[in-house]
C-alpha cells in the first residue's frame, strides 16, 4: 500500500480548517498552530491531538491513470464535504513532490477539475476548492458508496468475519471519524 497522500482534518467544516500533509512534511493552513510531529499518521491520533485521516491516495501501479485517481479522489472529497468550499488545495508542485509523481499529471487533474468548476484558480494566490463546486450527482454518490461497501464486505468475508462483527466494525470506525464527518 502506498504511503503517499493528502491528509485533511476530518472535522473540516469551514474554509479555515485545512491541513494537508504527507509522509515527510505537514503543511499548516493559515491560522493554525504549528504541528510538531507526524510519526503516527494514519495509525491513530497525532501528537497535538489532530486525528488526521488519509483521504486522497494514489497508486501508480493501478490501471487507472494517476491523473484520474487524483481527479476522482478530489471530486469525492469536495462533493462529500471533506474538503470544504473555498479552502486552498496544495500547489501542483507541492502535491507532485509529496506524491512523487510527475507534476504534469497533477496539473492535468487540476486543469480538468478547474474546467469542471470543482477547483478555482486565484491569480497569485493559488488553487482553491470552488465556492460553488458541484455536489456529487446522486447516481455517482450511490455508486461510490456501493463500491466502497462491496470492497469492505469482500475483505470481511475473506477474513471470515460474521455479518454482525463486520457491521460492528463499520459503526466503530464511523464513530472514530467523529460525528461531524458524516450524518448519523
Amino acid at each position: 500500500m502506498s504511503n503517499r497522500g493528502i491528509w485533511v482534518h476530518p472535522e473540516l467544516d469551514n474554509g479555515d480548517l485545512v491541513y494537508y500533509c504527507t509522509d515527510t512534511v505537514m503543511h499548516r493552513a493559515p491560522g493554525w498552530p504549528p504541528v510538531k510531529s507526524r510519526e503516527t499518521i494514519g495509525r491513530g491520533p497525532m501528537q497535538g491531538g489532530f486525528a488526521m485521516k488519509r483521504r486522497l491516495t494514489v497508486d501508480p501501479a493501478d490501471a487507472v491513470p494517476i491523473w484520474r485517481q487524483i481527479e476522482e479522489g478530489l471530486r469525492r472529497l469536495v462533493a462529500s464535504g471533506a474538503l470544504a468550499r473555498g479552502v486552498p488545495v496544495p500547489s501542483v508542485r507541492e502535491l507532485a513532490r509529496d506524491l512523487r509523481i510527475n507534476p504534469a499529471t497533477v496539473a492535468k487533474a487540476y486543469q480538468r477539475l478547474t474546467e469542471a468548476g470543482v477547483l478555482a484558480v486565484r491569480r497569485g494566490e493559488g488553487t482553491f476548492v470552488a465556492a460553488d463546486a458541484p455536489a456529487l450527482a446522486s447516481g455517482e454518490r450511490r455508486r461510490t458508496l456501493r463500491e466502497g461497501a462491496e470492497r469492505y464486505a469482500s475483505l470481511a468475508l475473506t477474513l471470515g468475519a460474521a455479518k454482525q462483527e463486520a457491521l460492528g466494525a463499520v459503526t466503530t470506525a464511523w464513530d472514530g471519524l467523529g460525528e461531524k464527518g458524516g450524518r448519523s
Partner: protein
Amino acid sequence: MSSHDGQKALHFDHVSVRYGKTTAAEAVSFAVPKGSVFALLGRNGAGKSSLIRCLLGQRRPQEGAATIFGEDAWSNRARLMARLGVVPEEPDAPPDMTARQLAAFCSRLYPSWDGKGVETRLRRFAVPGDVPFARLSKGQKGQLALALALGSLPELLVLDDPTLGLDVVARKALFEELVDELAERGTTVLLTSHDLAGVEAMADRVGILKEGRLLVDEPLDDLKARFRRVSFGQSDVTPHGSDAMKALDPLALKQASWGMEAVVSGFSEEAFARFAEAPGASDAEASPLSLEEIFIALCGEEGGRP
C-alpha cells in the same frame, strides 16, 4: 535526415548499433516529445546503454541517426552537449576534485550556469563541498552528478539509471529533485531505470527494449490500459483452444496455484465478457498489471510478443 522538428526533443531514426558480430540495437526508432518524461526500459544487455551512447555522441550508429533538437547527435556533439544535462550510470570525475571544485569547473563549460541552484542542491543532498570525489559514497556521487547536470539549466536531461545503488532515502530525494525540476522548467527527460515503481509515477511515455529491438513505445496510460491479467478457475474443459480464448489472444498462459492465468496485451471488455461466459472458464476475473508486471510479461524468461 528529417528536417528540424520543434515538437521533438530527441529522435532515434532506425538506429542500429553493432559490436563486431553482436547486435546491440536493431533499427530502433522513437521520438521524445518536448516536455515529456520518457522511460527507456530493458533488461541488462537489451541495448539501452548503446542507444544512450549514440544520443550523447559517444558512438556513431552503424545505421540510422540519433538527433537532438533536430541536429545529428554525432556530428554536433560539442554544441549539443551544452544543452544537455547527463547523469551517467557510473558518475565519474577526477578523484582528487571536490564537489566545490567540480562545480567551479563545470560552470565555465556552459553558456548559462545556475551556481546558486547547484549550491542549494548540494546542501539539500548533504554532499560535502570539500571532500575529494573518490571519497564520496555512491549515493553522494550520483547526487553531485545530478546537481551539476541541473546546474547547466539543460533543455534535455538524460538520467542513466540514476537510482541504481541508491538507498531509499537518497532515491526519494532524487525523485523530489526531479519533480521540482519538471515543475519549474518543464525539462524533457530521458530516463533509464530498473526502479519500475519510481518510473511508473514519473514517466508519461515508455519504451521497452528487448534484445536490441523496441517492443513498446507509447504513453504509459495507454500501455497500462491495454494489459490485464485474466485469471480463471480450472475445470475439465480447458478453454485453451476455444474461440473465446482466441478472441482474448493472451500473451502468455500459465498454471497458477489456484487456476489458470493469462496475460492479455490487447484487453477489451467485449472479448473478456465473451471469454467469461464461455464453458470452461469459471470465475474469470481481469485485474490490472503494474508496469513491473507488464515488463516481466514482455521481457521475462517466458516473455512474449508485445
